[in-house]
């Protein structure tokens, strides 16, 4: 048995309404509810991820600043160390130079003292020799008769010689 081609059938309309409600419920409580839930969850996760990324970025920037500060500090410190070392080296160099100079001075003084001493000694020796020569000369003169004038002349000559010697 078939209905007519175009009939309005209350039963079919009622059943169709119920069926439409059923399929609507399936869409609402299976598809839309579940997908909405997962979309909301994903949006939440995405926003969490973003905030995590933001805070990580902030941390990284803070670290970077700290690092830059530390680097600047290290540079200053290095400069300080270098300048301190330079000063120290300068000081030490000066001290070494100073002591060398002093030593040289001392050596020179010592040398001059020695020279003086040797000179004095030489003079003494010379005087002794002069004495000897005078004695010798006296003996020679004694051997011959000499006048008073000769005597005086001889002594003058001798003294002149000695002075010349001394000058030389």
């Amino acid at each position: 048995m078939n209905l007519d081609f175009l009939t309005i059938d209350v039963g079919t309309i009622l059943f169709t309404l119920i069926n439409t409600l059923l399929i609507f419920l399936a869409f609402k409580f299976i598809l839309f509810k579940r997908v909405d839930a997962i979309l909301a969850k994903r949006a939440q996760e995405v926003s969490n991820t973003y905030s995590a990324a933001d805070s990580a970025l902030a941390d990284a920037n803070a670290d970077k600043e700290k690092y830059a500060e530390a680097m600047a500090g290290a540079k200053d410190e290095a400069a300080q160390i270098v300048s301190r070392a330079e000063k120290k080296a300068q000081r030490e160099g000066d001290a070494i130079l100073e002591s060398a100079r002093r030593e040289a001075m001392a050596t020179r003084e010592k040398a001059s003292i020695e020279t003086e001493r040797e000179k004095a000694q030489a003079r003494t020796e010379l005087q002794e020799e002069i004495g000897d020569l005078a004695v010798e000369l006296a003996q020679k003169i004694m051997e011959r008769e000499i006048s008073k004038e000769d005597h005086a002349r001889l002594i003058d000559e001798f003294l002149t010689d000695v002075r010349e010697d001394n000058k030389a």
């Binding site: 048995m1 078939n2 209905l3 007519d4 081609f5 175009l6 009939t7 309005i8 059938d9 209350v10 039963g11 079919t12 309309i13 009622l14 059943f15 169709t16 309404l17 069926n19 439409t20 059923l22 399929i23 609507f24 399936a26 869409f27 609402k28 299976i30 598809l31 839309f32 579940r34 997908v35 909405d36 839930a37 997962i38 979309l39 969850k41 994903r42 996760e45």
Partner: protein, 250 residues
């Protein structure tokens, strides 16, 4: 076989029937028929429910499966359609639109597996059009109040009253008849064509015409027309309801 047989029609003839009645019973003096349409609808509901359960099981927030992509695409597309046509406040309406579209398109497409289209029974689109009708007027009353709603019938001049009533009443009639007419005409044309081709086949004795040609036509009448009518139906539903909700008028 001669060409005259074609003109006379086949011995079986062409008989486009209404939906078959499986059983009928009476409640309060009203005969309730359990028709082909209803039973096929139950099959559709079962299939759609199973499909939705399969699509939405084990949803994840990342590394999602193609199945989930499809599920999310359906939901976001329907939301997009509803928001475009009705505005964001009508977002909650999306599941109904999705359900209506699915029911309509599957109801038309069951013809492709040899069943009688649900939408080729006038009562199915009529039921949907009645839902739309109730929603239109419910929305109108909610927006304008009962006074404003009734006043709408005598706008702009009281003479318009019969025309306004006619116009309101014609909405569900035109919606349901459009849907029914399109699907059923496809069904009739397919039957006619199949009949014509089988007669030609009988007269020339080669059975190749009935293979292929009906399939191509079925592509239009079942797939395209089924999709178009479902789409037109939901778009009209949204447009009418949105129109009744005056707040949307920009």
């Amino acid at each position: 076989m001669h060409i005259s047989d074609f003109l006379k029609g086949s011995p079986d003839g062409i008989d486009v029937k209404g939906p078959g009645v499986l059983c009928s019973f009476e409640i309060c003096g009203i005969t309730i028929n359990l028709t082909e349409t209803v039973v096929i609808s139950w099959g559709i509901i079962l299939a759609v429910t199973l499909l939705l359960l399969w699509l939405t099981h084990d949803l994840k927030t990342n590394h999602i499966s193609k199945r989930q992509v499809a599920a999310e695409w359906i939901v976001t597309t329907v939301y997009g359609l509803v928001e475009d046509a009705m505005g964001k406040r009508w977002r909650w309406f999306a599941p109904y639109i999705g359900a209506l579209f699915t029911f309509s398109i599957t109801g038309s497409l069951v013809s492709m597996i040899g069943l009688r289209s649900v939408t080729a029974d006038f009562n199915a689109p009529l039921a949907w059009a009645l839902i739309t009708f109730v929603l239109i007027h419910g929305t109108n009353i909610r927006t304008n109040g009962i006074g404003g709603y009734l006043k709408g019938y005598v706008d702009p001049v009281p003479v318009m009253l019969p025309i306004n009533i006619l116009s309101e009443a014609s909405t569900p009639v035109s919606m349901s008849l459009r849907h029914f007419g399109n699907v059923v005409s496809g069904m009739v044309i397919t039957s006619l064509l199949y009949f014509a081709l089988s007669v030609v086949t009988k007269s020339i004795g080669v059975a190749f015409l009935t293979i292929g040609i009906p399939a191509v036509l079925s592509l239009y009448f079942d797939l395209f027309s089924g999709f178009m009518q479902a789409f037109v139906f939901i778009m009209l539903t949204m447009a009418y309801i949105s129109n009744a909700d005056g707040r949307n008028e920009a």
